[in-house]
Symmetry: D3
Subunit: 135 residues, 6 copies
Amino acid sequence: MATVKLWSDAEVAASPRVKAVFDDIRALRNSDFVNNFWRGLANDAPLLERTWASLKIVMVKDGALDPLTKELIYIAVSTANACSYCVHSHTAAAKAKGMSEAQHGELLAVVGMAMQTNGLVTAMQIPVDKEFLVW
Amino acid sequence: MATVKLWSDAEVAASPRVKAVFDDIRALRNSDFVNNFWRGLANDAPLLERTWASLKIVMVKDGALDPLTKELIYIAVSTANACSYCVHSHTAAAKAKGMSEAQHGELLAVVGMAMQTNGLVTAMQIPVDKEFLVW
Amino acid sequence: MATVKLWSDAEVAASPRVKAVFDDIRALRNSDFVNNFWRGLANDAPLLERTWASLKIVMVKDGALDPLTKELIYIAVSTANACSYCVHSHTAAAKAKGMSEAQHGELLAVVGMAMQTNGLVTAMQIPVDKEFLVW
Amino acid sequence: MATVKLWSDAEVAASPRVKAVFDDIRALRNSDFVNNFWRGLANDAPLLERTWASLKIVMVKDGALDPLTKELIYIAVSTANACSYCVHSHTAAAKAKGMSEAQHGELLAVVGMAMQTNGLVTAMQIPVDKEFLVW
Amino acid sequence: MATVKLWSDAEVAASPRVKAVFDDIRALRNSDFVNNFWRGLANDAPLLERTWASLKIVMVKDGALDPLTKELIYIAVSTANACSYCVHSHTAAAKAKGMSEAQHGELLAVVGMAMQTNGLVTAMQIPVDKEFLVW
Amino acid sequence: MATVKLWSDAEVAASPRVKAVFDDIRALRNSDFVNNFWRGLANDAPLLERTWASLKIVMVKDGALDPLTKELIYIAVSTANACSYCVHSHTAAAKAKGMSEAQHGELLAVVGMAMQTNGLVTAMQIPVDKEFLVW
């Protein structure tokens, strides 16, 4: 189904650069499972390395937003972009980080509300209020 | 600039149905300022009433997600949909609800990361891992 | 503001291929006004000719859908694609073809509803019912 | 495949709030079939209730636009948003409301034309003509 | 799965207008294989004819951009629009026109980078520098 | 207009981390001009550093695709995402890297064609041909 090869564990093991990233993914997640996204990126070792390095910094590191909030934002963007795989994988990640059914329902409600008012605003071409222009 | 008339306060005052919604917006926000989005929706009183009723339930009511988290999700969707007005108005709302500069920077980083991996996933047409299929 | 030159009437007059298209636009619309979209496309005469030829067939010719319905569909697509110019120009066209304020309000309501359920469906990754699979 | 549980009829029957909505859907459509969208929304009774209430008002009620035109607009938005399920379900709905093959073909032509000129306009960053600024 | 009938070779053979386009596709590609996109468009002969005529001019003709570059641009647009079929078919076309694995990897990297900065720019609502305003 | 502060040269000079990135941008481009995108990112030094580091690797480094081709791909994605600033800045970059008017016209034609067929494919929900499934 993919437009690129999805690397098997045997293929990963044969490429030191790819293996190093997969080892780090497994260590950080404390799990042997590595999902298909990384198996596709394995075709381009530098892109794999850069993407994982960025994701670790943005999503894993402690920061001003907690890890679950970051997953909710990720699902919101992925939904608006109609990325089916991304919605699946980050909904799974959000559940793993403690998203309750009530929080999931509320996320859906906010996403739906935002989509709706995005459409209303764009169809009406509402000009930005000067009160919103802080810069 | 808009494709519809933006109602002035005088026009609002002359329409009891529209005035009732504007009164409720002002009361709930404890401010006289009503932004252009509602002044555009005022052209269709039932749509104005329904949209405000939904927004109150979704964004204002206490729930499983706190108000700031809901604004961050709203900004994320609005960004992916390229709704300029919506990004402006909900960034202002997020700041009013306490979003710090560090949180804003982290929101940007997560949105950028999600956009990037959405593109990579779609270009590679990665199939959903069976591990993500909880239903 | 544009990334290409917008041709003045004098420049149009100096290019026979471009002039022929502009003459046809003016004749068909029975108006001297030619909007900026065509003044931008004038930089590439073959693209201008093909785009106008297609638009005449799709939007102007009598067909199975009436001209106003086609403009409503055009606004709907342009809104979802966040094309500000397109929303402005096709809302003006719809009004010129008789769109009432009530119809405009209802268009907005349908667009908003569709955006909302698009988001809900994508976030829930709802599988297509077999009843919908007519082919 | 979904990120939420799709409720069976037995599960629906056990929840009075969900059952009330499903009963209303079945009564209004005069059919026992309830599609997966509602079975997913059933996980959040208030969201289910609000979404159905809005959809009834916007799509079912007599109004300034006829029911088939509203379905065509819905398909247009869903296409631009790449919502596969939504395109399937609303194409089925449009056929049920009388969309002919010729009308379907013309809808496709208009959607394709709008997508194309949306891209051309955005790539050229065409400024809005002052003639379009009615407000 | 489609919302329209996909025409078989027998059905194509029975319609002179559709057959003429299919013959031309086969002759130009020097292959008997005609992909599903054209089998869907066959339901509307004029739309089929116009779409093929345009595609031949834009994608096949010698021009200022080489054929492979045009396919890369096509994949980029299709990815941002989340068109799964289009990503599959134009990635296959790009490979047939000589896209190497290294070029594919670099295309992915550029698409991912563009998606990311698109998100950052839109979330920050960066105003266009006057230096970019060449027109 | 922005939702964040755009840093002046004086503010940049006062922050060693931000200044280092700006110095590198100026050196690499051999120009004193630094566009607003970077002045917005300056609010979050780590995000600024990471974004510039990635952009240098993806867009500047010699690779399997030439620098102009990469800009064309960037414009294509930015157009589909309706990112006005990005279309402006990368069209300027493409011109600086030698894009001719004929190439610009052909880019527009390919983007428009891709947008159109993306819409047709999604509205028809065309299933992927097995011939395209290389993996």
